[in-house]
């Protein structure tokens, strides 16, 4: 190993140690260092599946289960069940845990029908809620599709064609793709088949937009992590990095 390499690596190790000792004194830096170690631990999976990444995976699943319990009690069960039942003495709240615990009978073979009974209650409530949502959610989608196909005072022919005509054609051809009970044979059937094919082509453009956006989303997750490693973590003890204006 040539001498320059020695000096370079010794310098790097010294910098990291200086940062680590500073971190031990300030809890805020604990968070930074733990975050950096966790991130680098997960990134070892890029090389290949290894014990470090699997260890961090199990830590994450444990923290997630723990926080779910804390959040369910602290923000829900205490204020919305325990206080009304005990402090406001509304006795009927005792039925909530009783019905709630029926779910756990899914694990016993003889009593599992009781779990399906309370699931039936929730599926029924979910179906009823969807019946209530249907028009408030979808009727605006229907009447927003009533676009005029001829120009008027504000809108010229070019805009009408490029917007309203195209809208109606794309909407109807995409809808035609999802008709399954009508055969694609016979004169009318073949036209339906051609409309469905055109609908599938228009959907490819929509999937192209989703593809482009998904690439943008995934990449910004990584850029966000790299910015944390460079600006927040290394930047906390390497001033040159902190002022890069990231």
């Amino acid at each position: 190993m040539n001498p320059q390499l020695w000096i370079l690596s010794a310098g790097a190790i010294a910098t990291v140690l200086r940062g680590l000792t500073a971190a031990l004194r300030d809890p805020q830096l604990w968070i930074l260092w733990a975050g950096a170690i966790a991130t680098l631990g997960v990134y070892t999976i890029l090389y290949r599946e290894n014990p470090v990444s699997r260890f961090f995976e199990h830590i994450f699943v444990g923290l997630s289960a723990g926080y779910l319990l804390v959040a369910t009690w602290a923000f829900n069960l205490e204020g919305r069940w325990w206080d009304p039942m005990i402090h406001e003495r509304r006795w009927y709240w005792i039925f909530a845990p009783v019905v709630g615990f029926l779910f756990y009978f899914i694990y016993s073979r003889r009593l599992s029908w009781l779990a399906r009974l309370v699931m039936g209650l929730f599926f029924g409530a979910g179906a009823g809620t969807f019946f209530r949502e249907f028009f408030p959610l979808y009727s605006p989608q229907l009447y927003a599709s009533f676009k005029p196909l001829r120009p008027d005072a504000q809108v010229g022919w070019a805009a009408v064609i490029l917007h309203n005509w195209l809208f109606v054609i794309v909407l109807l051809t995409v809808l035609s793709y999802f008709f399954f009970a009508l055969p694609h044979e016979g004169r009318a059937g073949r036209n339906l088949g051609r409309a469905a094919l055109l609908g599938r082509w228009f959907m490819m453009i929509a999937f192209g937009a989703m593809f482009g956006n998904t690439v943008m989303a995934r990449i910004s997750l990584f850029i966000g992590r790299m910015r944390f490693l460079l600006k927040d973590w290394l930047g906390s003890f390497i001033p040159w990095l902190a002022h890069r204006g990231m």
Binding site: L46, Y47, Y67, L68, A71, T72, A74, F75, N76, E78, G79, R80, D83, P84, A125, G126, T129, R132, E133, F134, F135, P136, L137, P140, Q141, Y143, A144, A206, A209, M210, N213, T214, V215, M216, A217, I219, S220, L221, F222, I223, G224, R225, M226, R227, L230, K231, L241, R244, G245, M246
Partner: protein, 285 residues
Amino acid sequence: MTQAPPHGFWQRMQQIPRYYIYALLAGVVIWQLLFPIRLPIAPSRATLGVRDAIRNVPEDKIVIISVDWDASTQPETGPQTQAIIEACFQLKKRFAIMNLAAPMGVKLANDIALRVARRYNAKYGVDWCNWGYKVGQGNFLMAVAKNIPKAVATDFYNKPVSELPMMRGVENISSIGLVVEVTGLAGMTELWLGLIQGPYGTPFASAYTAVMAPGYYPYLDSGQMKGMLVGAKGAAEMETLVNRPGSAVAIMNVQSWAHLLIIVLIVIGNVAYFMGRRRPGEGRR
């Protein structure tokens, strides 16, 4: 790789190990983080819609920010939440943070709100508050529509919501001026539109991860949604609107070059594929 040993140039081009590509991506990102080439960011119509929706909230009503996101989308939804909170403080609109799913969201958003509130010396309980993660999804929303203090009960700090100064007079959905949904989860918007915005006409705006945004343009066209932030791009535009450029602007600068890299990779990959196919004997195609 079990393919036949590469012989032509294009075959070798197709067999480049993935670690080179990983290094290429990391290199482009680090280069642009350290030596950013800044380009202007022009807010789109959908982002202006969110800012205007916040501005048009009447004085006596509050804004609900539903933070249905967790750390898996933090680089996009974090700056979105921060920019929306900045806009609420700047435009002097009182807001309440809460969420229906992803319980982490309320804690992450609370940390952001505390940091930003210090800059505007806004007080918890007077200018903003945090209802916490509320179980029940549609059932919770139907209860909130009729009686907020009973449905929400206690806030993030375990205090009864009705005791917070800003919540005095906030009885039901008619005292809510705007709902802003920040999320990467499907189904949340349909709950708010179907059970709150549709029935009671409460204005609704959104901030989505870029993955989800294309699917919700129909709700922008129908006017059910006043505006929409699209991923880190929407957050960067909102940051420029409230002139607090932050992590989203930095991400978008790097994003430009990362997108170019991805497009170049796709083009070269396809050229290598099609050129490689012309050579006979490359295996039955």
